[in-house]
């Protein structure tokens, strides 16, 4: 299992559009993807889960990847956060 910690940099936080991008990216990989924020733990491949999280700009998330392609999945997802979901 691989763990990563990311901070949300885009202004709108993890609202609907970035949430959809995140879910779509995670779905490309076999690895299970879990997001942990405070005491919440949600499946990162579920749009309703990510919407529930609605993490705002500046908040920190722990990401867990588990599976054969966990390394690649982690790289792709972390990159997405680093680019601020290509939003301003």
């Amino acid at each position: 299992m691989i763990t990563r910690t990311v901070t949300i940099t885009n202004r709108a936080g993890l609202h609907t559009r970035p949430a959809a991008t995140l879910v779509k990216t995670a779905a490309r990989f076999k690895a299970e993807f879990t997001i942990v924020k405070d005491e919440f733990e949600i499946n990162g491949k579920s749009i309703i889960g990510v919407m529930t999280l609605a993490a705002e700009q500046g908040s920190t998330l722990d990401l867990r990847f588990d599976g054969p392609d966990a390394e690649e999945a982690a790289a792709a997802v972390v990159d997405l956060f680093a680019r601020g979901f290509d939003e301003e």
């Binding site: 709108a12 609907t16 959809a20 749009i47 309703i48 919407m51 301003e88």
Partner: protein
């Protein structure tokens, strides 16, 4: 104090007039709570067919949503469909659907119950979040859940309802309003909502009478009951008596005839009979309203409430997004002008959850917030400036209570201009900036304020509350709230005179400007501009065109000598009856 009266079998409920018109017909109670997901055990042999039923229902729900979106895109701003697209994504959530299917097999319980139980978990989490945005998302989730369950239960889609009906509901989402509008909907009556709720605005755009804020109408009405709604005065009558029906039908006929005649003057200017030009414009909060306003003969927009841009989101739109929105609006009204009032929000909007004021009306709002938050204010000023290239844009500052606030706001505006100039970005360098006069201190300092601005616009709703120390939503004192209080009228006169001494025009964008009873008086006091909600615009124009400025001045003089609101109202209503007998006045 109750908003309900009973006369025999007739129940009269007072609410808020949201869209004009009168509708009489059978009620259709559209209750989202009516969808019940009862738990029923299933056999192991039924698992496959239960899952099959679920999948079919999800597919049907998606089809429904796509239809609504397609319809919405033709009728409305494409931005309105974003919420619906989020709902489609939830239907396509394979993790969510996977766990629902698994649970059906593992727990041997029916699909609708598992859908209800599983999705409710997320809904509860969203509702427990402190901010408004998440609460609205919870409504979306609720909507999706009900849509699936209704399809599982093979309930007939309510939107396919037969015949004509008045929809009665706790609240209406934009999606509800749209899907219903494809049927023969006579009107809407809802428990919750205000004049600026999205559903109210959409029903105005779709020209369907609506009364909102009725609080308990869903508890008193049943499907099939005869219901009458009066979208002019904001009243719903359940099981109306014969004489009530006749009175409403008479009223409907009078308004209809009158409105037909009003169409004839839609293209004409709002000049008095003796040719004094009055600028007559509209108050708008959403882009969708502009078309409706223009068909009613509006020239420009006297008040565009930019805080409409903040609805349904927790972050402020970027400068670029704002430029797009403002430019779209400025283009739509060109060659007429639009006055953008900068964000008029309370502190609770900006710091949801963590911000509390015991008395927000006397708290951190309007220009006070913006001056403390230049990172919010400056990009908005830049965006408005950038949208002003066709020279038909003006800026207005809300809640100004001191000259220092006005000067500081103007400094920030000047700074934004300098910055744009340096960047070589185009804007209208002679853009006009004014203030809303809605705090008594600004009214008293009107002349000094006028000396440093390009226009004054009187915001009567707040001004009256502050002047008379009355909260209009507090039933115990609400009757004291009236625009016809002699103190209010004198204050309005004082502001207009002060502006004219400094050669700036004085307008009014509060509700008083749209009250037909006040029109003659305001013209007589010398008001230069009226900014009103689109639905009353033709009526106000008709009054202005029917009177002579000369006579209006005499009326104003008489009113200024009177000392009670009742006396003033009676006199003004006799003036209307006398001069414009065809005008249907509210009783």
């Amino acid at each position: 104090m109750s908003n309900i009266e009973m006369h025999g079998s007739e129940i009269i409920i007072k609410g808020i007039a949201a869209a004009p018109g009168i509708a009489i017909g059978p009620a259709y109670l559209y209750s989202k709570q009516a969808i019940r997901a009862q738990m029923k055990p299933i056999e192991t042999t039924e698992i496959d067919s239960e899952i099959e039923r679920l999948r079919r229902s999800v597919a049907r729900a998606e089809k429904e949503l796509r239809k609504i979106i397609e319809f919405a895109q033709q009728k409305l701003d494409p931005d309105d469909t974003k919420i619906l697209e989020a709902q489609i994504m939830i239907l396509g959530d394979t993790i969510l659907m996977g766990s629902i299917e698994q649970r059906i097999g593992r727990e041997l319980r029916n699909a609708e119950f598992i859908v209800f139980d599983e999705i409710s978990k997320y809904k509860r989490l969203m509702l427990s979040a402190p901010d408004e945005y998440m609460h609205e998302r919870a409504h979306d989730v609720d909507d999706v859940m009900n849509r699936i369950i209704r399809n599982i239960q093979d309930q007939k889609l309510v939107s396919r309802l037969e015949g004509e009906a008045i929809i009665v509901s706790e609240t209406l989402t934009p999606a509800d309003t749209i899907i219903f509008s494809r049927n023969k909907i006579l009107g809407y009556a809802t428990d919750i909502g205000g004049v600026t709720s999205h559903a109210a605005i959409l029903s105005r755009a779709l020209k369907i009478p609506a009364v909102v804020g009725l609080r308990t109408v869903t508890r008193h009405v049943q499907t099939g009951d005869t219901l009458a709604i009066d979208g002019y005065s904001g009243v719903a009558v359940i099981n109306p008596a014969d004489d009530t029906l006749q009175a409403l039908e008479r009223k409907a006929r009078r308004f209809r005839e009158f409105e037909e005649r009003l169409n004839d003057i839609a293209g004409l200017a709002a000049d008095t009979a003796d040719h004094k030009h009055i600028e007559l414009s509209v108050n708008v909060e959403f882009f969708e309203e502009i078309d409706f306003a223009q068909t009613h003969g509006a020239a420009g927009i006297g008040l565009f409430r930019t805080e409409g841009l903040l609805i349904g989101r927790t972050s402020v739109p970027s400068e670029e997004e704002q430029v797009d929105s403002y430019r779209k609006i400025a283009d739509a009204v060109f060659p007429h002008t639009v006055i953008f009032r900068v964000f008029d929000v309370g502190g609770d909007k900006l710091a949801p959850g963590s911000f509390h004021e015991d008395n927000p009306f006397l708290g951190w709002r309007g220009i006070r917030v913006l001056l403390d938050r230049p990172e919010l204010f400056v990009p908005q000023l830049r965006a408005i400036l950038r949208a002003s290239t066709r020279k038909n844009v003006r800026i207005m500052f809300p809640m100004v209570s001191t000259l220092q606030e006005l000067r500081r706001a103007k400094e920030l505006l000047a700074g934004a201009k300098r910055e744009l100039e340096k960047q070589g970005t185009a804007f209208d360098s002679s853009i006009k900036a004014g203030i809303m006069v809605e705090v008594p201190s600004a009214a008293i300092l009107a002349e000094q304020m006028a000396a440093e601005t390009d226009f004054l616009s009187i915001g009567t709703n707040d001004l009256i509350q502050y002047m008379l120390a009355v909260d209009r939503d507090n039933n115990a004192v609400a009757t004291l709230y009236t625009a016809f209080d002699p103190a209010v009228i004198r204050t309005v006169k004082m502001i207009i005179d002060a502006g004219h001494r400094r050669n700036v025009w004085v307008g009014m964008c509060g509700e008083m400007a749209g009250d037909p009873l006040a029109t003659v008086l305001l013209v007589g006091l010398g008001l230069d501009e009226f900014s009103v909600i689109p639905s009353v615009l033709p009526e106000i124009k008709k009054i202005i065109r029917s009177i002579r400025f000369k006579d209006a001045r005499r009326v104003a003089e008489k009113v200024l000598a009177m000392d009670s609101p009742e006396q003033i109202r009676d006199y003004l209503s006799s003036v209307i009856k006398d001069q414009i007998p065809e005008l249907p006045l509210e009783e």
